[in-house]
């Protein structure tokens, strides 16, 4: 059912430590190459500037300050071909906050409770890699 493993470098940004470690270990269990995980937007940007990861898995809600969509847009400015998967508890983030900016083209978003089956997230990462703009 599952295709080949994801070899591309994946960065994870999630402010809740429990969630971050859970999703990270589940993804690693599926052979996903998680190269960096953080709770901080600032650290994520610094990392993206210096290491250019190919995929970013971002939580929509990052606590105070910018949300996952703000970060996604900034990552695309730094690295136009980065694949983006946004995790949210809602089908459409605009349902939660009317003021959200638009998600960059080719990004995928995934309702968190469907992550129970980690294969769903793995598939979304693959889809995001396919639909990310070509640099």
């Amino acid at each position: 059912m599952m295709g080949s493993k994801i070899k591309q470098s994946v960065m994870m940004v999630e402010d809740d430590e429990f969630t971050r470690s859970t999703v990270k270990s589940a993804l690693e269990g599926k052979g996903v190459n998680i190269v960096y995980d953080t709770a901080s937007v600032k650290d994520a940007i610094e990392y993206a500037k210096s290491h250019r990861p190919e995929v970013a898995v971002l939580d929509y809600n990052l606590g105070k300050g910018p949300n996952g969509i703000d970060l996604a847009n900034q990552l695309r400015r730094i690295q136009p071909d980065i694949a983006i998967v946004l995790l949210t508890a809602f089908l459409d983030p605009a349902q939660l906050d009317k003021r959200v900016a638009e998600l960059p083209a080719g990004s995928r978003y995934l309702i968190k409770h469907s992550v129970t089956n980690i294969d769903v997230l793995v598939n979304e990462i693959k889809e995001a890699l396919k639909s990310a703009p070509v640099a």
């Binding site: 429990f18 901080s40 105070k64 300050g65 508890a89 968190k112 409770h113 992550v115 129970t116 980690i118």
Partner: protein, 591 residues
């Protein structure tokens, strides 16, 4: 005291504005209609109505034509004398037409000498009055806009401290917490039940998983987010109540303030009543009686005006009420004098109809005097400087707006909190339980359930943080944006250590304006200045390099507007200056 209408010799120029002239014409035509109706000078009511309607249309068309001529001649200002001559010519022309239309429709006109008197009065008084008040309209509205702004700010500040608002704050917090706790308890119960049920790990996992979708909590979060948006309409009232509305809501207070501090002169009370009573005197009294009645009326009205002024100037707590009663009663003087005249010399032809002198005239006089009092230039000056007090209706309206704004902002914070803290944890726990179940790891499985239950037992923990100083609050709001936006921050040294319950609101303002600047303005740099203004206020000025201009005022009634309004009581603005967007907000340091 400056008179409302300048003397005939005055060279002071008045801008010409015909916008109120149609209203003046309609009032004059109505007055002529009631006179003709009462004097039975018509063949049929239908013909009388046709005559008055046609004449009204004709006079409005004439006024419009005249205004176009003035525009063509580039006459934008005239002195009172010219206005009076113009008015007399216009009304005279109207009367000339009337002479032909009246007999054609079977309506009998009063004699020429009486009509001359009426033409002079209308042309020299009412026509210039409507032109001059019309020309001062924008000045009047400007004064009221300023007044409105200051009044709303003061009322908002008072509303934040009102018991109604404190009640809304407490009850909404308690209500949301209660709903959250109830949903979480139901979830704990369902999870515990599934966990204790007999079966293997996979069966227990399957049973727990269905509850971890968190449908109830998702619904609650959605409900909280949409809570305020349903009430957006009332928000418009918050920052920008239209001046006309405000004038109506505030009329009693405005009148009370201006009548006590800048009362009209006695002559105004007298002139207004004489201007109202002169047409009936000319219409109903023969010339010899009019020559007696008019000076008598002048004398009586002058005495009444003296008493009105005296009542208003007295130190009695009932001065205002007493003077208002006197104003109303003064409006009955023409009726009383006519009734006395009828007792002395009964004559149905010279009897004023009671619905004019007993009803229309006193009410018109009362309204005219009160409106002139509030709109008088001296009153407007006073309104600019006066200590403000909101009427009960306005206070209630503003309190409702402030409560709505608070409710929306708080609901939004809770919605985000439930999403970020609880729904996220449910999803992660779900994933962890699934993995542990597949691996047959009952220890991890149980630990995960325990940790989830412990979270759900205190679901609101961490929602509020304690009061912190201004510098730490601002840093905590700005730090997460580093990397997305280049922030140049300056905080006055004496403000840095301020620790006030309002610091949190200031933090929300900063977060909101930074996120707006980046998300909607697409800016990359922002300069932020937090300075002390006087002893009691903080001023925030933000200037960014936004490539997209801020939306117009009317379309800005979202959450951001509510946050700014709550913090500043409406004292904020966004404007485009060159290639930058400048945001300014002033807020009180203490609640």
């Amino acid at each position: 005291m400056r008179p409302i209408l300048e003397g005939l010799r005055s060279e002071k120029k008045h801008k010409i504005d015909f916008s109120l002239v149609p209203l003046g014409i309609i009032l004059i035509e109505y007055s002529v209609f009631t006179t003709q109706l009462s004097k039975d000078q018509h063949s049929s009511l239908r013909n009388l109505i046709i005559l008055r309607v046609l004449h009204t249309i004709l006079m409005i068309a004439l006024a419009y034509l005249l205004s176009r001529i003035f525009i063509r001649l580039k006459k934008i200002e005239l002195n009172y004398r010219t206005l009076a001559i113009t008015g007399t010519l216009v009304i005279g022309f109207g009367d000339f037409i009337h002479r032909f239309m009246g007999p054609a429709l079977g309506v009998e006109l009063v004699s020429a000498d009486r009509r001359v008197g009426i033409i002079l009065l209308q042309g020299c008084f009412w026509f210039p009055a409507f032109i001059i008040i019309g020309s001062k309209r924008s000045e009047i509205f400007h004064h009221f806009k300023e007044y409105e702004q200051r009044l709303i700010v003061a009322t908002r500040a008072r509303s934040r401290e009102s018991t109604e608002f404190l009640h809304v704050q407490k009850s909404l917090q308690a209500q949301i917490r209660q709903q959250l706790v109830t949903s979480c308890r139901a979830l704990i119960e369902a999870i515990s039940k599934a966990r204790e049920a007999t079966g293997n790990l996979a069966e227990k996992n399957q049973s727990i998983q269905q509850h971890l979708l968190g449908d109830e909590l998702r619904k609650l979060s959605m409900k909280l987010e949409t809570f305020g948006s349903e009430q957006q309409g009332s928000s418009i009232l918050g920052q920008n109540i239209r001046s006309v509305n405000l004038l109506i809501k505030q009329f009693r207070i405005l009148y009370a303030t201006t009548a006590r501090s800048a009362p009209l002169s006695k002559s105004v009370y007298a002139v207004v009543l004489l201007a109202l009573i002169t047409p009936p005197i000319l219409n109903y009294s023969p010339l010899n009686e009019a020559l007696i009645a008019f000076p008598v009326m002048v004398l009586v009205i002058t005495i009444a005006a003296h008493f009105i002024s005296k009542a208003l100037a007295s130190k009695s707590p009932h001065a205002l009420r007493n003077s208002s009663i006197l104003i109303y009663l003064t409006g009955f003087l023409p009726m009383i004098s006519n009734l006395i005249g009828q007792e002395i010399n009964p004559n149905p032809a010279t009897r004023y109809p009671l619905y004019i002198t007993g009803l229309t005239l006193p009410i018109s006089y009362y309204i005219f005097v009160k409106v002139i009092q509030v709109l008088h230039p001296h009153s407007l000056e006073l309104i600019r400087k006066d200590e403000l007090q909101a009427s009960r209706a306005l206070q209630d309206a503003v309190t409702k707006v402030v409560s709505d704004e608070f409710s929306h902002a708080l609901s939004h914070r809770w919605a985000i909190f439930i999403h970020g803290r609880i729904l996220t944890r449910l999803a992660a726990s779900s994933l962890k339980l699934e993995t542990a179940s597949q691996a047959g790891d009952s220890q991890t499985f149980n630990r995960t359930v325990d940790s989830l239950v412990s979270l759900l037992e205190n679901p609101d923990a961490g929602f509020e943080h304690g009061s912190i100083d201004l510098k730490s609050e601002v840093s905590s709001r700005l730090d997460p944006w580093i990397g997305l936006l280049d922030v140049d921050l300056h905080i006055d040294a004496e403000l840095e250590s301020i620790d006030s319950p309002r610091v949190r609101e200031l933090g929300e303002v900063i977060e909101e304006l930074v996120s707006n600047s980046m998300r909607h303005g697409k800016s990359q740099k922002i300069q932020l200045r937090v300075t002390k203004q006087g002893d009691k206020e903080i001023k925030i000025v933000a200037m960014d390099d936004a490539s997209i201009s801020p939306p117009e005022q009317q379309s800005r009634y979202g959450l951001g507007t509510r946050i700014f309004n709550l913090a500043s009581d409406g004292r904020w603005s966004i404007e485009r200056v060159g290639s930058s967007t400048v945001f300014t907000l002033v807020m009180a340091i203490r609640p």
